[in-house]
Every structure is written in C-alpha cells, then in structure tokens.
Amino acid sequence: MSNSSNALFTGPLVKEAFKQSFVKLNPRILFRNPVMFTVEIGTAIMLCVCVWIYLGEKSQGSLLYNCIVTGILFLTILFANFAEAIAEARGKAQAESLRKTREETPAKWIQSVGEIFTNEIKIVPSSQLRKGDIFLCEAGDIIPMDGEIIKGIATIDESAITGESAPVIREAGGDKSSVTGGTKVLSDSIKVRVTAEPGESFLDKMIALVEGASRQKTPNEIALTILLAGFTLIFIIVCVTLKPFGDYANTPITIAAFISLFVCLIPTTIGGLLSAIGIAGMDRALRANVITKSGKAVETAGDLDTLLLDKTGTITIGNRKATQFYPASGVGKDDFIRAAVLSSISDDTPEGKSILELAAVDPSVYGVDKPEFIKFTAETRSSGINFGTTRIRKGAYDAIRNLVQKAGHSFPDEIVAQVKKISSNGGTPLVVSENEIVMGVIELQDIIKPGISERFERLRKMGVKTVMVTGDNPLTAKYIAEKAGVDDFIAEAKPEDKMNYIRKEQQGGKLVAMMGDGTNDAPALAQADVGVAMNSGTAAAKEAGNMVDLDNDPTKLIEIVEIGKQLLMTRGTLTTFSIANDVAKYFAIVPALFIASIPALQSMNIMRLHSPESAILSAVIFNAIIIPLLIPLALRGVAYKPIGASALLRRNLLIYGLGGVVVPFIGIKLIDLFVSIWF
C-alpha cells in the first residue's frame, strides 16, 4: 500500500472515471451538488435554444455559436463529474489493493460440537467462516479472517497491509492479540477466534467507506455547500433581473449570453471539485496507512487542540535501559553488580535484560545453588532471588525502603539523594538490597527519539498541545516532558486518568486525540474526538476509535492532523479562487452584453476582447478548463505550512485570492486570442 503509485492519473483509473462522469450526469445524482445541477439545467436550456434556432429562430445568434456554448457547458459538467469520479476511482483502487489481500484463502477450521471444540480440522474457504468460529494458523499460512488469538504466539508478516516488512509478534491475551485477515504467519502456530462476519470485518467496512459508497457529507462540507448555494442564488438574481434591465435599455440579450454569464459567475470551480476534495482527504489518510471511519474524523483531526501520546514508543525509543550502577557507601562495585545481576536473572522485562547487558557478566560465574526466583507482584513491587541464606531484592525506592526499614535497618541518606537525583534527571531508580541491606541503585534511562522535539515544535506552531502519558513518577515524567518538548504530562497514569484528562479538556471546548491499542484504552478512545487505534491493538480498541493506523506508528497522529488541515485548506483556497475569478469574468462578459446598444461601454472591455461572442466564449471556456487543471491540486491538497494562522491566511490569500483575480484575466485574454480567429 505505501508503495502504491502516487501518480494521479493512470490508464485504467482514467477510463473508469471517464465512464463514471457520464453516469453522474443523471439529474438525480447531480442534484446533490446544487452548483453543478444549475449548470446542467442551463445546458438543457441551451440545447432547447439550439433546436429553436435550427427550426428558424433568428434573434439568438448563429447556430454554431450556440452549439459551441452548449458544448462547453456540457464539458463543464463532465469535468466536474470527472473530478469526483477520479477521486472515487483512486479510492477504489486503494481499496482494491487492500481487498486483494483478503481474497479467498483456505482456512483450517476447528470443528465444534455445540460449545465444545474438537481437535478435528477441516479445510474450508475463508468465506465460510462465521463470527465465533475458531481456526488454526501455522507457519506459512495466510490468516483467513480478522480475529483474536486465543491460544499461542506467532510472528506475523503484516506487510500485505502495512507495507512494513519487519515481522511482528502477536500472542494470546493482552493487547497484542489481534490478527488481520490477509497477513501471513511466519513461525509457530496460533488458534484464532473469528471476530467478524464475512464482509463485515473492520477493514471491509472501511473499504466501503473509502470507495465512497457510504460517504456522507461532513458538517463543514454542508456549511460550505450552503454558502455556495447562497452565491448561486445571488447570481441567479443578478442574471434574471438583467432581462428587464436589458428591456429598459433596449438591449436584447441572447439566452446564450444570460446562461454563460450565470455559469461563469456561480462558483463552478469549487462546486465541481468539492466532493473530490473530500474523497481525496480520506484517500490521503489511507495513503498514510490510516483508515478512517468517516470523512468527519479527518476533518476533526485538522481542528485538534490536544494530543495524548504514550511515552513509550512515541516519545522514547522502546523501553528504559539500565545506564549506571551506583553502589551504596561501603559496598564494593563488584558486589553490587553481582547483586544486581542475580536479582535480574529471572527478570524477563526489557529493563531486567538491560541490567544484564550493562553488567556484561555471565551470571553462571557467580555459581548460585538452587536458586528460588521471586516474581514481581503488585503487592511487593519487587522481584529477586533467594539462594542459601541470601535474599536479594530489586524494586522501586519505596518498596525496598519498606522492606529495609521493616527489618530494622536504616536506609542510607546518600542512596535517598541518589534516587532523587536519578528521578529528577528523568531516570528511573531501582534499588537493590541483599538480606534487607541496601546495596545500591541502578539507573534506568529513557532514550528520547531523535527529531521528536522538532515534531512537537511543529505541532505547537499548528496550535496543538501535546500531552505525554506515562506510568513514571512525576519527577521522571517532568524531566522527559521537558527534554522532549511536550507541553504537559500525565504521570503515574492509570487508564481512567486518560479518560479524565480527555473529559477535562473537552469541557474546556477542546478537541482531543489519542492513540491506543489496549482494551483498557477503549473507553478513552471512544471519548476522544479522534481516537486512533493501532492495527495491532485489540478488537475493542479498534471498534472504539474512529481511525485505525495500519503501521502501528504512534507518531502518525501528527500526520493525521496535517491531513485534516490540508483537507479544509484545499476547500477554503479553492472557494476563494473560484469566487475571486468572478471579477475578471464580469469584466469579460458584462461589456459584451451591452456593447451593441451602448458602444460607450467599450471602455470597460479592459481586456480588449475581440468581439462580444469571443468574449463570452472565452469566459465560458476558461470557466470549464480551470476545473480539470485544478484536479491535481484538489486531489493532492494544498500544502500545509505551520507558520501560524495569520501568516498562513496571508499566504493563501495572496496565492489563491490575488491569483484568483489575476489568472482569469490572463487566461481569458489568451483564449480570446485563439477564439477570435473564428468569432
């Protein structure tokens, strides 16, 4: 997917879009777009006029001229339809490539008798699997359906979906139990329970959305359509009242001139491109490997005020690592390292492993007999090892202090100082004790991702506040927050803390986004205005959020915000451009209307257009061809620059506002030079 071609127009796409642009001529479909619908009515009227002239009417100008106007109006609608169709076709092509991964695959269905699953395996096509069924996947199998691992652990190649070639690990229980249909098991075997009916899996629903089948207009799109309808109405009034004005001034105005003036004045450029822009927005999100449940979610993303980001994986690389050993006074460094290593032998956490790495000694040299490993529990908040009469414990500062003080020993002051120093430097202290005597402190440090603070700076310029969520203590959290450049942090975070923070921000009128993967994130994902679930996350998390990130990349939120802003900006700038065009069109057409009876108005023909006919034709032709010329911009989106809202407005006003005034003057004049050969 991420390697899919970025070319806007490819052969098959254009062919499909071309076909669709005719299908969309159906008034019942076009009715949804009031601007283009009025153009269609205008074209129909012009068609009648052509027939009328053919039958002998003399007052409406030549048949050829009228036919050309009719043809150009017809092209205008086709161009607008084409814009929408090509955007849809691109969406469909994206969806198709997703769907390819989900073609019929044989599934190893585990038969059940009532509620009890037998061990018999039957090969069935994936389409026969139903929600609740269980299937088996072994190394080399393609996973037939979305599901949740109920047993086993496996490495899975998700490149078909994410384009990321590095395999990922998925295992039963916990937050990484979800597998997606179409991905490939590389090693081991897993039992998976199907979580969706065929055609209703999460991705299927998303694909339908991307294809535009169930696309609904977003609130912002509706508001813009109303404004455009308002403009259209104003120009209907302007054109209709021109008839009696012309009567008064003894100036006959041809129907072709009326309709041309009208079509040129109404905002056809934005009217024709509006739905294409919306579809392209979702499509761009998809290209970033984010599937959105609705266009509204993309729009909302552009408005976000606050981002909640998990520290681990987003702000820091992976997990904390041991970086330093600080023995207590009177304890030899080697003795302390020995205690630290022994306490970590059975510690499978990344932190525990990093202690062994740092110590760089083989634990077997210590020759421990009959070790009894003490697992970490939430109650003791420490782990360790017992052998012989030795009891080594490793844990958080307060846990070990309790242990030490309960045994009647004192907790050395210099260790307290060291613990504080480590914490305030953003590290995590782990205290090690042997037989309830403090041996020293291990410093664990987070490694902040390179370049992350620049990204936060960019977000700040967009007006988005970043909040780091971490289980660390406040001191550590504060240090990392400052170092990474986030604006706020939630330390010692429990799942409900995220929820409360989101609620609090929302009460202040802010829009909040968060990213999550676990089932316990689901309520917060649902509460957030934009909830991005990782594709690796649980089904509950994916259901609760309104976007799914196929790459499982937590920094994706930043891109989503930009895509949302781009979507709105593209709409805004093209609206401005479209309306600014009217200035030049007025100067082209209005003198042309009256010049025959009021020759003095020739002074208003500032473009020096050749004749009334050539002026009107040039304006209509310009009005038509500007639509396909802007299709690439509509599909790619206007580039967002985080330079502050006022500067951005100034920039866009200059490019699209002033440009919108100037470009048609040049364009119409050039077209006129060409058209004037015949008219």
Binding site: A229, T241, P244, F245, D303, M462, G572, Y586, A600, S646
Partner: protein, 567 residues
C-alpha cells in the same frame, strides 16, 4: 482647492476623535456600569420603565429580544398610520396641510419606523406639525431600537456560553435617553443659535423686492434636524432637506450636521471594543469600514471638484467644480463629503441633489448604500458588517485548515444558512425592485411616462437609486423620480420593511445561536480576527458579495452614463 478639502478633513478627524470616548461611554451604558449621566437621567429611565411596566433587569433570550422589537414596531406602525391619515383634522396644523393617502401613509410610516426616512412627500405641505412631531418621535425610537439590537449582538458576542442576553428595554431606553437625547439637545441648541427655526407658529410671510407676498414654511425644525442626523434617519423637516437654508443655514451648521451623521455609527464600533474588551477587534472593524468609506469618498470629491466633463468639453472652466444641484454656501467638496457619509451610514439627508452628482459620484453614493456596512446606520450598520464577518471567518477559517470559529464559537451550517440568506437579501430587494420597475416602464411607456425625469441611463439610475436607498434604509432620493404613486409607495414600503427587519433578525439569530455554543479556547492555530490580514479578507468578501452583484446594474446606469459623457 486645498482649503476646500480642509473642512471635510477636519470634520472627519474631529468626529472620529469624539467617537472614541463616546464609544466607551456607550459601552459602559450597555454593560450597566455607572456613568456620569446616571444622576440626571436615572429618574427619567425609571419613570419610563414604570410607565411601560417593564422590569429592565429581566434577562431575555434572543428570540424574546426579537419579539419585543417586532411588537413595539407594530404598535408604532399602527400609531403612525393613524396620525398621518388623520392629521388634517388633528391639532397642531396651522398651515392646514391635508391628511395623507393610505399608500403614502403606509410608505411614510414604514419609512420612519425603519429608520429609512424616505420621503415621498414634501415636509412643508405634506405633514402637519403634529405629523412632524410624531415623525421626530420615530426618529428617536427607531434609532434607539437599532442601537438596542446592536447591543444585544454585542452582549451575545461577549457571552461565554448562555442564552440570557440582557433586557431589550434596558438597551432601548438607555440608547434613547442616555445617548440620542443628550446629543440631540446639544446639537439642536447649536442649530438654533445658527438660525434654524423652532416654533409652532404657521408660515411666516414677507414682501419681496418685486412686491410679491412670499410665504415661508417653518415649524419645530431644530429638534428634528438634530435627531435626523444623529440617528441616521435623514428625514428633513423641509422638502429640500439639508440643502434648505432653514435646515442648514451655513458652513458651521453643515460641519456639525455632517459630523452628527456618522458620529454614533463610528462610536458603536468603539463601544464594541469596550464591551468585549477587544480593542484590537474594534480597530480592525473601524479600519475596514473607514478605508471603505475613504475609497468611495476620495474619488467622489475628486469627481465633484473636477467639474462636469460635458461642460468642460464645451470649453467652460469650472473653478468651483460641478455646482449643478449644489449650494454655493457649501461648495463641491463639502457636498461630496456629505453625499458619501450620508449614503454610507444609511442616513439619507442631503445637502445637494444627488440626481445632479457626476455619474461616478452617483455610483459611489449608490455603492455606499449597496454595501451598507461601511459605518452603516446606528446599530444596524454593525449588524450588516457582522454578517460579512461571519462569511469571511468561514472562508478564511477553511483557508488556514481549521473549522471556522469567531470569538471562540464554531461557525456551522445553521449560521451559514442565515448569513447567506441575509447577504443575498439586499441584492435581491434592490435588483428585483429595479427589475420590476424597468419591466413596467419598458413595456408600458405611456402609462408610466411620468415616472422618470430623465430617460436612458440616468433614468435607470434614478430607479436603481430609489430601491437601493429603500433597501439600505437610507432614505435619500436621487429625485427626478415621480415617486408619490401607489407603485413606488407600496413597493418601496415593502422593500424598506424587509430591508430593515430581516437584516436585524438574521444577525441577532446568528449571535444568539453562537452565544449558546461552547467557547473554544484560543490557541496558536486559531485564526485571529483582529488582524489586518483578516481585515483584508473581510473587505474582499464585502467587495465581492455586496459590490460585484450590482456590477451589471451599475454598468447600465452610472457607468454607461460616465463613459457616454467622456466619449
């Protein structure tokens, strides 16, 4: 030449300097803060509340505000119809002026309650003194009502989230007694000292040098002239309005009256800045409005001082500029200044005949009314501007990639619907009215021949001006139009009615809906509306929506006339 411009320039600067503290004072009034006039006028306010039986402390929702406004306007309308149609036999009629016909009374009543003061009658012979006094009353209360709804919108813009937007009668009474009344008293006293009459005696008479006996109309006019200028009413005591020597005797009264025309409209903007504690926003709005006025004013002064090109082509020098239809005691620059300020502010009093303005000046005067938001009428001028701000906020919000918001409130489909309707209403009323009249005139030339003094492009301008003036609630006339006929009385009456109340209802509704929305806190991504960039955006929206819709009509009227003359 330069000395001629000095007068208008001083009036412009002086008025703005006075409008700033006046705005602060008005802001304090609407906030309910104590002001220095409390001691003197509090008892009067209390008396009025007591007589009307209203409690000025009961807060109202926006719908209730509108209900109160429309109800009192209906009562005023009925009262006015009664007086105007019966004043022939009612007291205070020393000159034995007749009662009005029903269609003229309809037109006049709407004209005065809508703060338009379009006059299809002549004050000297068309109304009794009682009639004049009733009209003066309306000049006060229609201006007060406009300021009151503006205060409602200010209050709504200030609201964090809520539906209670103060009490309509509180704003209304305060506008009348604390702003309009004191300023009117001061201005009418100045006018009295410069020779404007204030009497209930009938016509005066004198014998001219030729030995004829001349009758001179007079009456309680100083009171009316002060409020007609301050309240952007514009309806004069005499038919010739402020060109009449008894309304506007000399250059000094001209300066004061002209200053009074735009004093309160400008002060309302500074009142907004004070009430909302957003001075910069007020300056942005003031800046856009003032630049708009200057863009119309400067070429108009230039055109008028340059003289008429048709006369110039005959080889006749015009050192005083184009003086047709102007008073020698004012000159062309002061007349041009008045023409633009009176049309921009929906005042509509005139000190020169707009029919005789050079074609482009006539167009700029019309543009002032077509836009109707560069300063604009007392209170309502800001309401029109507010609609343009909403549209500008919407488009520019999109341009910076954010759902549009104004003062922390999101602009959504409902607000856009109202704003679009209001923005297209003004072109609709003007163009449809002119189109119908053009149609009637073009297809029944014999029947309606009496309408137009001039044929061709200028005749078209006369009709266009009349509807523009009605829809903008301006009230000035291009004259040259035989307008006291049922068609003009009724059609202009309807246009004035719609042009007054819909553009009040719309912005109040938008502001009321926005007030009840949750306020979004400002961040670096929020588009600030108090910047020059946003000002340019608003200006562009006004130019494209308000000015461009009239381009074809203007091309047929003043532009065709202008190019016809210079060729």
């Amino acid at each position: 030449m330069y000395s001629e411009i000095t007068g208008p320039l001083l009036v412009l600067i002086g008025t703005i300097l006075f409008a700033i503290p006046l705005g602060r004072y008005i802001g304090k009034l609407y906030n309910g803060e104590s002001v220095w006039t409390d001691k003197i006028l509090q008892p009067l306010d209390r008396l009025l509340y007591f007589l009307a039986g209203v409690n000025p402390n009961t807060p109202m929702r926006w719908q209730q505000h509108l209900r109160a406004l429309l109800t009192i306007n209906l009562v005023w309308f009925l009262f006015s119809m009664f007086v105007l149609m019966n004043m022939g036999w009612l007291p205070l009629n020393p000159d034995q002026n007749p009662s009005m016909s029903a269609d003229l009374a309809f037109n006049t009543s709407i004209s005065f309650i809508s703060n338009t003061n379009l006059q299809h009658y002549s004050g000297e012979s068309g109304v009794s003194y009682l009639g004049q006094l009733v009209l003066v009353l309306f000049q006060f209360i229609s201006a007060g009502a406009g300021m009151a709804v503006c205060a409602v919108v200010f209050k709504a813009m200030k609201e964090k989230q809520g539906t209670q937007l103060g009490n309509f009668y509180f704003y209304f009474v305060r506008s009348c007694t604390r702003v309009l009344l004191p300023l009117s008293i001061v201005l009418s006293v100045i006018l009295l000292f410069r020779g404007v009459p204030m009497t209930f005696q009938g016509k005066d008479q004198f014998i001219s040098l030729q030995g004829d006996t001349l009758h001179v109309s007079r009456g309680p006019s100083a009171a009316m002239i002060a409020i007609k200028q301050l309240g952007t009413n514009g309806g004069g005591f005499f038919g010739a309005n402020s060109a009449h020597p008894l309304e506007n005797p000399d250059a000094i009264t001209n300066a004061f009256e002209n200053s009074a025309i735009f004093l309160i409209p400008v002060a309302m903007i500074f009142a907004l800045g004070y009430m909302l504690k957003r001075r910069k926003l007020a300056w942005m709005i003031f800046g856009v409005m003032t630049i708009g006025v200057l863009l119309l004013l400067i070429p108009t002064i230039q055109q008028e001082m340059n003289g008429n090109p048709a006369i110039r082509s005959l080889g006749i020098a015009q050192p005083l500029g184009s003086m047709e239809g102007k008073e020698v005691r004012f000159g062309s620059a002061a007349s041009a200044f008045w023409a633009i300020t009176t049309t921009c502010t929906s005042n509509g009093s005139v000190n020169a005949m707009h029919d005789s303005l050079t074609p482009l000046s006539g167009m700029f005067a019309m543009l002032g009314m077509m836009i109707n938001a560069f300063w604009g009428g007392v209170g309502v001028g800001f309401l029109n501007f507010y609609v343009f701000i909403i549209i500008a906020v919407f488009i520019s919000g999109l341009m910076v990639g954010r759902t549009p918001e104004f003062l922390g409130k999101k602009i959504e489909a409902k607000e856009m619907k109202i704003a679009s309707i209001i923005a297209l209403l003004h072109p609709l009323l003007i163009l449809a009215g002119t189109a119908l009249s053009s149609y009637l005139y073009a297809h029944h030339p014999q029947e309606y021949a009496g309408w137009l003094n001039n044929s061709g492009n200028h005749g078209f301008s006369e009709m266009l001006y009349e509807y523009t003036s009605s829809s903008a609630n301006n009230g000035s006339g291009f004259e040259g139009l035989g307008d006291n006929t049922p068609w003009w009385n009724i059609s202009c009456g309807v246009v004035m009615l719609l042009g007054r109340f819909l553009p009040i209802i719309g912005p109040v509704a938008i502001a009321g809906i926005l007030a009840n929305k949750k306020q979004v806190p400002e961040t670096a991504g929020t588009l600030r509306t108090d910047t020059a960039t946003f000002g340019i955006m608003t200006f562009a929206v006004i130019f494209i929506v308000a000015a461009l819709s009239f381009f074809p009509a203007l091309a047929l009227g003043p532009l065709a006339e202008y190019f016809g003359i210079i060729h």
